[in-house]
């Protein structure tokens, strides 16, 4: 098993190389670069633009730029942002924990609700409850996140709810006690976590329901019922236990996307996460910021899937890692 894990971890290297080559050259293929906005500014002299062009290495062929970047990455240096002039690692550092916090909160919210809801919907399949839930899930799936975020903020303002309109901390955050800080972030977390939570809640409930339905249709469940086992034991011991596989696989995927951020939700709710950073970098052709975040997200995706596989092997004796 350890060899298996090691092998999977080693796969990361060629994979990340491929991902970064693709990302870089796709960005390069798009016409334009970071300096285009300055080129149309009458206050900026052509000499200054030429100087920046050289300084950023944008006058070099693409493969030279990529080679330099790769060399730096191998020396644990993610390069500098054109836009901010600061190290990419600093920029990511300021956002990483924020994104993680939001992802974990929305994930927790989604699972706490979806798990019982999905299981119950499968058990009571085609009942009124199931139909209502299905209906609600489809609504949840079809409402765009940014719209829901705006709607929630509008309700906060309209009904004068004691919640902040966006942001992650209050302006007096630095002077609060530790518990005060936790409460303050918690208050700010509610809207974005609910927006992202409900979005994944909808799909998650559907996945869990169908996973559970599959299991409940199996012959061993029929056998269990025929033996006269109480329904709760049938559902929990034979149903849920076997439906875990599906759930773990989904969980692994979600684990992998923890750092991706949700740009639009972050923008509306003012959450200082990675999504905003990446979107801004993409728009500004700030190559190395994009590359840095893609690397991190890629590694996390592989690790997330690995964790899911390990959990799967642990939960299901039929699965063997090799």
């Amino acid at each position: 098993m350890w060899r298996y894990i090691l092998r999977r971890l080693l796969y990361i290297i060629p994979m990340m190389l491929g991902v970064s080559v693709l990302t870089f050259f796709v960005m390069k293929l798009a016409p334009g670069d970071y300096l285009d906005l300055l080129r149309l500014n009458p206050d900026v002299s052509p000499e200054a633009i030429e100087q920046l062009n050289r300084q950023f290495g944008l006058d070099q062929p693409a493969y030279v730029q990529f080679g330099r970047w790769l060399w730096n990455v191998l020396h644990f240096n993610l390069g500098h942002s054109f836009n901010y002039g600061a190290p990419v690692s600093y920029l990511i550092g300021t956002r990483l924990l924020n994104t993680l916090l939001l992802s974990v909160a929305s994930l927790a919210l989604a699972w706490t609700f979806s798990f019982p809801a999905g299981v119950y919907a499968a058990v009571k399949a085609h009942s009124t409850y199931d139909r209502v839930l299905t209906f609600a899930a489809f609504i949840g799936l079809s409402i765009p996140n940014y719209f829901l975020a705006l709607l929630l903020l509008y309700l906060v303002v309209h009904f004068n709810l004691p919640l902040p309109v966006g942001g992650m901390t209050s302006s007096d955050f630095a002077s609060l006690s530790t518990w005060g800080k936790v409460a303050d972030i918690g208050r700010h977390l509610i809207v974005p976590a609910v927006v992202l939570g409900t979005a994944s809640m909808a799909s998650l409930t559907r996945y869990l329901r169908s996973g559970m339905l599959d299991v409940l249709g199996q012959e061993y469940v029929v056998t269990a019922r025929a033996k006269g086992l109480p329904e709760s034991r049938v559902v929990w011991k034979h149903g849920v236990r076997n439906a875990l596989n599906v759930m773990i696989t989904i969980f692994g995927f979600e684990l992998g996307s923890l750092l991706n951020g949700a740009a639009l939700t972050e923008i509306i709710t003012g959450w200082p996460g990675m999504g905003r950073l990446v979107l801004e970098a993409l728009r500004a052709y700030d190559y190395y910021v994009v590359m840095g975040t893609v690397l991190m997200a890629g590694v996390l995706l592989v690790v997330g899937n690995l964790v899911a596989d390990i959990l799967l092997a642990w939960a299901d004796p039929r699965v063997r890692l090799q």
Binding site: A30, P31, G32, D33, D36, L37, L38, R39, L40, N41, P42, D43, V44, S45, P46, E47, A48, Q51, L52, Q55, N83, Y84, G85, A86, P87, Y90, L91, T94, R95, L150, L153, Y154, V156, V157, P164, V165, G166, G167, M168, T169, S171, A174, I267, I268, T269, G270, P272, R276, L277, E280, Y285
Partner: protein
């Protein structure tokens, strides 16, 4: 650019000195010996101003590397130059220099610094700091935007220290825009000189620096920066301005700037009372107007902005083939198109009614040199048709327009996708030109592609685009001089292609050679008439800037020129109850 740096003072230095002698406070007298006395209604000390900045926040704390307003708007509170532009009148007024004078031939300029101005860390500002700052400006390794405006015919200014509080500049020739360009932010030599000497200036004061280490002379200093969330500023207790009662400015103790990336959310924050002041999208102004009285805020029209939106036809003979070249270089053709621009509809549809038609290349915001009575082209398709007929164009039985050689008139019109105003202008123009029998292929494309076409490949027919501007026409030389890189219709000419372009070159050069604005105005008037007749750029409208301010914010006078009210941040005060 100058708008970002704008900071206000308003009375003459003589009066300032007199009043300060009459009513100095002990604290102020101990430090600033040459205070400026603000001619404003007297307010109360204390309080916090909360506002939002739209975008993703500052990109650097190093003013010399700042490339856009999200950084300069922040640093403009912290750093100051010798002079600044009055946010209300756009006039140049004293800042760190209390006064200046120039020699009879206009070549030698002497600036006298205020004595006892303190850096935020308590050191005194002297002529050495000023000299150091111009060393930075002219350092070829520092890609700053100030050098461009301080280079005259390719030559730098000479600058020298006369004494502790006096600096002298010597110019290669008379240069009228000098005062517009000379207010570069003065940086503290005692903190940055060693780094500069070691060739590390460009690494100093990046966004990852502890903001408390950023030391300027401005009314506020940054005490907290939380990326993508907020910037908190604290009052500079030793600032060099007083009110008429002798109270040291600024009145406010703190500024809290929230970084918001959505205009809808900015609006919600304003309505929830989380921010005291807002620059709303024009679409919201009418709604806000209705609730203003009951909610206790007011809406202020800051006037037309310097930004322009125009249509330009490509006249570059190297990239445009016949017959298009003959149409686009034909003045009558361009004038006919100008008559087909429906400015009223543009104002209503794209700017919610809050814009003004623009006819002259120096827009109404540039009060000093704007010429209101240039040739105008009010929306009139009939007139357009007549002009086209005069130029030899004929409409066939199929309704399509053909030129004298029988070629169907058809061209591509581009703009950058996502800009609602330009997309609206394009759709309206396409519709009107279709009625004249012209086939227009209107296509919004990616901004970066558009820039490449404009500045590198030159392969386009017509484009709708805009440029920023300022109160000084000379800063537009990159656009108007025939060798300029932004001379969009035919950039980088070795020799002016036409007589009128040669004339514009001459006018633009001459206008900088006189210090008297009345003399300069003659040149700029002729320039404006010439452009309004030739129409290399067909101007559309100037949007107005609107602001919403809660009534408890006193002394607030936001203007489009100063991009809001932060230029006067030391004069604002909060009157709760």
């Amino acid at each position: 650019m100058s708008g970002g740096r704008a900071k206000l003072a308003s009375v003459g230095v003589a009066v300032a000195l007199l009043v300060s002698l009459l009513s100095v406070t002990a604290a102020a007298a101990a430090t600033t010996q040459d205070p400026d006395v603000a001619d404003i209604p007297i307010g109360k000390r204390g309080g916090t101003l909360r506002y939002s900045s739209f975008g993703s926040g500052p990109k650097t704390f190093n003013y010399y590397l700042a490339k856009e307003t999200s950084s300069t708007d922040v640093l403009g509170r912290v750093f100051e130059g010798l002079v600044t532009a009055d946010g209300r009148t756009t006039e140049i007024i004293p800042a760190l220099a209390k006064k200046w004078e120039y020699s009879e031939d206009g070549l030698v300029w002497t600036f006298y610094l205020r004595r006892g101005v303190q850096w935020h860390d308590g050191q005194e500002l002297t002529a050495d700091d000023v000299i150091f700052s111009y060393d930075l400006v002219y350092d070829q390794n520092i890609p700053n935007n100030f050098r461009f405006g301080l280079t005259i015919d390719g030559k730098p200014l000479k600058y020298e220290k006369v004494d502790q509080y006096t600096v002298r500049f010597t110019l290669p020739r008379i240069y009228a825009p000098l005062l517009r360009s000379i207010g570069v932010p003065i940086m503290p030599r005692h903190l940055l000189y060693d780094a500069w000497k070691a060739g590390k200036f460009n690494e100093m004061w990046g966004i990852d620096t502890d903001p408390k280490k950023i030391v300027g002379t401005g009314p506020f200093r940054i005490v907290e920066y939380v990326p993508a969330q907020r910037i908190v500023y604290e009052r500079n207790p030793n600032y060099w301005r007083l009110d008429k009662a002798g109270t040291q400015l600024p009145y406010l103790d703190r500024l809290e700037e929230t970084i918001v990336e959505s205009q809808d959310v900015e609006l919600l924050k304003f309505r929830a009372g989380e921010i005291d002041y807002l620059a709303p999208d024009r679409r919201y102004v009418a709604d806000l107007q209705m609730e203003a009285a009951s909610k206790g805020f007011r809406l202020i029209n800051g006037g037309p902005t310097f930004g322009s939106e125009f249509i330009v036809f490509n006249q570059n003979p190297n990239t445009i083939k016949q017959p298009k070249l003959s149409w686009f270089t034909n003045k009558l053709f361009r004038q006919a198109v100008a008559y087909a621009v429906d400015k009223e509809s543009i104002i209503d549809l794209a700017f919610a009614g809050l814009a003004q038609p623009q006819w002259s290349p120096i827009g109404p915001a540039a009060k000093v040199f704007h010429k209101p009575d240039v040739k105008q082209y009010p929306y009139d398709l009939k007139k357009a048709q007549e002009l086209l007929a005069e130029a030899g164009f004929r409409r066939g039985a199929d309704g399509r327009l053909r030129d004298a050689d029988g070629n169907l008139v058809e061209f591509d019109l581009l703009t950058n996708a996502g800009n609602r105003a330009r997309e609206t202008i394009g759709s309206l123009l396409k519709e009107d030109l279709t009625r004249l029998g012209i086939k227009v292929n209107f296509q919004p494309i990616d901004f970066n592609v558009l820039v490449r076409k404009l500045t590198e490949t030159y392969d386009w027919d017509a484009i709708i685009i805009g440029l920023t501007g300022g109160p000084e026409p000379a800063t537009g030389r990159n656009v108007w001089m025939s060798n300029g890189g932004l001379h969009m219709w035919y950039p980088g000419q070795k020799q002016p292609a036409t007589a009128w372009e040669a004339r514009i070159d001459f006018l633009f050069e001459e206008a900088t050679k006189y210090l008297d604005n009345d003399v300069r105005r003659k040149y700029y008037n002729e320039f404006q008439d010439l452009v309004a007749d030739q129409l290399p750029l067909i101007y559309t409208v100037n949007p107005e800037a609107w602001y919403a301010v809660y009534n408890y914010v006193k002394n607030a006078q936001p203007t489009a020129f100063a991009r809001g009210l932060l230029y006067q941040v030391d004069e604002l005060w909060i009157d709760r109850r």
